[in-house]
Each structure stands twice: as C-alpha cells, then as structure tokens.
C-alpha cells in the first residue's frame, strides 16, 4: 500500500506540471490586457506600458511561465491585481467556506441518498423503487442554478425566511450565520443524493443476488442482519468511490451554486477573478483545484483497495 501511494504521488508531479502548462496557457492566451484592466480606460499608453513592465507581461511567454512556476513551487502565489491582497490570503479566506459547504452538503446527501437507495433496492421494481427512481432522475436533470433560483424564489422572495445570498457578516460567529448555508446545502445535496441513491441502489441489487447473501439467508439469519451485515457492507465498496469523487469535485468549489448564492468560496473566487482578469488569482486557484481533485482521486483509489482486498493496486494503472 505504501509503495502504491508513493508511486501515485510521484506520478502526480508530471500531471501537475502538464496541468500547470494548460493553466498558464489559459491565462496567456486569454484575450484582454490585464494591465489595461487594472488601470481602467483613463490610462495613457505610457502608463499601461509601465504597468505591463511591472507585471512582467513584456517578457516572452516561456520566461513568464518559468517565473510563475518557480514562484508557485516556492508557494509564493503573488498578489491579486484587483484588490492588491495576497492570493494566499484570498484562498485562505475562501477555502474554509468551500470546505464547510462540501462537507455539510455531502453529509446531508449521504443521510438521505443512502437510505433511499437501500429502500429502492429492497423494493426493486415495485412502486417505492419507481418513486425513488423518479426523484433521482429529477435530481440529475435539474440544473443546480435553477434549483437555487427556485429556492430563493420560495424562501427569500415569497416567504422571506432565508437570506438570498452571501454568508453574512464575516466577524459574526458562525452559528449565527448558519441559516445562510441552508439553501446552498440543499441545492448541492439534492443533485448528490440522487447520484448516491442510484449507486447505492445498483450496488445493493448486485450484492443481494450474490451467493454469500443467499447463504446468509439459507442459514436462517434475520433479514435485517442479512441486509445490514452482509449486503450493505459489501455494497458500500463501490459507493465509496463515488462519494470520494463527488467530494473532490465539491472541494474545488461548487462553481454554479456558489455563484447563485454569492457564496464566498473557491468556485466564486475563480469565476470573479476570471471576470476581472485577475490572473494571479485564477492561476493559483485553478492549480489548487487540480491538486485537490487529483489527491482525492488517489485517496479514493487507495481506500477502494483497502475496502476490497480483491483489488490489487501494484499493477493497476
């Protein structure tokens, strides 16, 4: 296991390097001049030239890439061009919000999605199954931003129960601001619980027809014991994968949901800084998103092998 992890972490480096080239290319090739964006339309060509010099934009692209990469390797992420704050501080502010949203949403999604999937599997091809399947297809088809808008419409505009956006005053204690989380969490949880319940359902159906479940039933175990101890435990193995993958995605920021609710997380930071041509922020956050995504993938693969001894890691690619 340790050798496997070491190898995977080592393989992370070339992938990250290639990703960094792509990220840098996105920035270097994007239209618009950041110097002009920073100074506004009033600036004279001379001022813009000076600013370009200061930002290092006059150097050839490979040189700029090399400089940026060395800076990133030294964890020197630079300064935001739109508000002059260090990029690391901006990310440091946004990351806890995203982490909180991801953890709570996934928790809620698992709490609802797992039982739904198990219920559907135990009642396969009956009415209850059909209802769960209908909920799932809705959850997978509704765009998050539409669900978000509908929630805002109901709970903010009509009933005036919940704030439509933001996360409240940052210096208030968190427990006084928890109600800001309700709608973003509901939005993310709904689509994820559909994913989870679909996976749990199909994994349970597979497992329930396995020989060891038949044996457990044949030796007279109570149905509950069969379901919980024999079926569920094994059905969880493939489900771990999908939970991990969804978690990795969410940690990179739920771009759409964060935008709809003006939630101050990583996803909104990326979108806003792209809109402002704030390239140091875009570069750093994208690198972070990729890093998190890749690391969660490794953890998922490793835990998969840990849970299912039949999976051999050393040879797998």
């Amino acid at each position: 296991m340790q050798r496997y992890l070491a190898r995977r972490l080592l393989l992370l480096i070339p992938t990250l390097l290639l990703a960094s080239v792509l990220i840098f290319a996105i920035i270097a090739l994007a239209p618009g001049d950041p110097a002009r964006m920073m100074l506004g339309s009033q600036a004279t060509p001379e001022e813009i030239e000076v600013e370009r010099e200061r930002l290092g934009l006059n150097q050839p692209i490979p040189v700029r890439y090399a400089i940026w990469l060395t800076d990133v390797a030294k964890l020197n992420l630079g300064v935001s061009q739109s508000n002059r704050r260090p990029v690391a501080a901006l990310i440091g502010d946004a990351l806890p919000y995203t982490l909180r949203l991801a953890l709570i949403s996934l928790g809620v999604a698992m709490l609802i999605g797992f039982p739904l999937g198990i219920l559907a599997a135990l009642n396969a091809n009956r009415r209850l199954d059909a209802i769960v399947t209908a909920i799932n297809s809705l959850g997978l088809a509704m765009p998050a931003f539409w669900l978000g808008l509908l929630l805002i419409l109901l709970f903010s505009v009509e009933l005036k129960w919940l704030p439509a956006s933001g996360m409240g005053e940052p210096n208030r204690p968190l427990y006084e601001r928890l109600h800001y989380l309700i709608m973003p969490v509901a939005t993310i949880a709904f689509s994820n619980l559909s994913v989870f319940s679909r996976y749990v359902r199909s994994a349970m159906i597979d497992v329930l027809s396995a020989d060891y479940v038949r044996t457990a039933r044949a030796k007279g175990l109570a149905e509950q014991a069969v379901v919980v101890r024999h079926a569920l435990r094994n059905a969880m193995i493939p489900v771990v994968t999908i939970v991990g993958i969804q978690f990795g995605r969410l940690l990179g920021g739920a771009v759409v949901t964060e935008s709809v609710f003006a939630y101050p997380g990583i996803g909104r930071l990326v979108i806003n800084s792209i809109a402002n041509r704030d390239y140091p922020v875009v570069q750093a956050t994208l690198m972070l998103v990729v890093l998190i995504f890749l690391i969660t993938n490794i953890i998922v693969d490793a835990s998969y092998a840990y849970l299912d001894p039949r999976v051999k890691l050393e040879r797998g690619r």
Partner: protein, 321 residues
C-alpha cells in the same frame, strides 16, 4: 463521467458480441428479428420494446423538431422588444410572459432549443469523432503515440469538467462556438479511452490477425475490423454525454460565458431571470423546465440505448449505475 474509464476493459469484450453482426447490413425486414439481422433494426426494435425507449425516442424527435423548425414558427421575433410590457405574466398575448425588455419568453424559449441541441449533439459528436480517431490510433499502434495521447487525456481529466470548460471558454472568448468546442474537449478523454480499451482487446483477436495477414492496410483494419466493435459502447457513452453537455452549456451561459446577448439560451435567460426574481417569478420558471425536461427525456433515451446495446443488460435489465 466515470463510466467507461480505464478500469472498465470488459466493455469491449462484451460489446463485440453485438457488433460482429455488423457485416450483414442489408437484411430483409423479416430477418431483422433474429440475432443475425441488421444491427440497426435490431437495436431499434429492442429500443422501442421498453417504455423508456419509446419515451426517449419520442422526446428526441420532438426536441429535434422544435430545435430545427421552432425558430420559424414562434409568434414573435425572439429579440423584439415591447417596452410597455416588461416582465409581464403569462397571458394570451405572451403565452409564457415577457422578460425585462418585454421580449416574448415563449419565442425565446423555443429559439433557444437550437443552441442547446448544438451543444448537445454537435459537441458530443465532435468528441466522439476525435475520441474514436485518437483512441483507435493509441490502442492500435501503442508505443509512444499511446503514451502521448494518454498523457493529454490525463491532463484534461485532472480538471473538474466545469473548470476545464470555463478555462477553454476563457481562452476562446465567450460564445456559442467556444462553448461547443469546450464541451467537445471535456468529453474527448472518456470517448478516447473507451475506444482505446476496445481496440486493445480487439487487436489480438483472430479476425484482426487474419485481416492483417491478408494484407489489409492499418487504416482498413482499424476502420473495417476494429471500429465496429467500438460502436455500441461508444454510442451508449455518447448518449449519456448529450444531456450532460446540454447541462454544461446551460451552466456556461448562465455564468455569462455562452452565446452573447441578445441571442437567447436557456442558461442566459435564467441568468437574467435571477436579477428580476422579485418582480417576475414565472420568468425564472420556464427556461428551467425546458432544461430539466430535455435532460430527463435524453437520459431516458440514454438508459434505453444502454439496455438495447449492452448484452449484459438485456439479461439483467435492472441495475443502472
């Protein structure tokens, strides 16, 4: 997005059972019922045998009709501004109400079916085409070509799809074309890997060996003998990708990165509806319905295609992951 990844090599073996019959393309209708009949007719028959398939096919036909002809039949020009009727509720004049400029929401909704279908069908076909070519080449020739192609897809897969799409659109500048290209690119790695996996397992079969011995060119072996094996799993994978692509397009245009205004898309309609939520609740309702219904209908079709084309599913017919 996870389906057909590198951990799913069995797909190729299972799929070859259906597609070896691809040699007999012109069968009389009577023979289509048998296992050796036309694969297209056979698939169509299996597709329409379950309810999901009928709903899915019917929905696709309706959607294509709306996307292609709807633009010419709408009651108003989708960009016609009615200054006195801003954010009007649904009425007999404006069936689904009007937007913030007094434009007819129904006309815009119907017109927006075209960019949505472009994003779905065009982008995914492009992904399928590039994916097949690169996957075939990587799987058939192996070696450094395989390594390079694999590396490229690894890099793209290192990004969560929506971030990659946003990044590509940033390079190309917002617009319908960049959106289509971005959606195509985020779908290429999965198609390519799928085709590569099937190609690798087909490469060592006797009939491929025989074709090579008979002097077929690499191109002919790839297209005539290996590619038919890939078609069934590829179609399933692309069918799953179409509704996802439509969601991504809606997301991009919701974020203001899609087709430029005033051209209507379902996503940018919802984007501006958000600003006027307090003044018109119907405006935020209908474009969302359009997206959701489209995606549900196309998901039905994808499910049914999966059942019809995957021999492992014809037997089980239950577990869908």
């Amino acid at each position: 997005m996870t389906a057909g990844g590198p951990g799913d090599p069995s797909i190729g073996v299972a799929a070859s059972a259906t597609s070896t019959s691809a040699v007999t393309t012109s069968a009389e209708p009577g023979r289509a019922a048998g296992p050796v009949g036309s694969p297209i007719l056979g698939t169509a028959r299996r597709l329409t045998r379950n309810r999901k398939g009928i709903v899915g096919v019917g929905f696709l036909a309706l959607l294509l009709a709306v996307a292609i002809f709807g633009r010419f039949l709408v009651p108003y020009d989708p960009n016609e501004v009615h200054v006195t009727d801003q954010l009007a509720p649904p009425s007999s004049t404006y069936w689904l109400g009007t937007d913030e400029l007094g434009r007819d929401v129904f006309s815009r909704l119907i017109t927006a079916a075209w960019p949505a279908m472009q994003a779905g069908v065009l982008a995914v076909s492009l992904a399928g085409l590039v994916g097949s070519l690169t996957g075939l080449a990587a799987g058939y020739f192996g070696g450094w070509l395989d390594a390079v192609i694999g590396r490229v897809w690894d890099t793209l897969l290192a990004f969560p799809a929506i971030f990659l799409a946003i990044g590509i659109v940033t390079i190309l500048g917002p617009g319908q074309f960049s959106g289509v290209l971005a959606i195509a690119i985020i779908n290429m790695p999965v198609s390519s890997r799928l085709v590569r996996a099937v190609t690798v397992s087909a490469r060592s079969t006797d009939y491929v060996e025989a074709a090579r011995t008979l002097g077929c060119s690499d191109w002919r072996v790839m297209t005539a003998h290996i590619l038919p094996n890939c078609i069934a799993p590829l179609i399933v994978q692309l069918a799953i990708a179409v509704p996802e692509a439509i969601l991504v397009e809606a997301t991009l245009s919701f974020l203001g990165l899609g087709a430029p205004l005033p051209a209507p898309t379902w996503g940018n309609m919802l984007g501006s509806a958000q600003t006027y939520l307090a003044r018109s609740w119907t405006y935020a309702l209908f474009p969302g319905f359009a997206i959701t219904l489209t995606v549900i209908g196309l998901n039905f079709l994808a499910d049914a295609l999966q059942d019809a084309l995957d021999p492992r599913r014809i037997r089980a017919g239950s577990a869908t992951a």
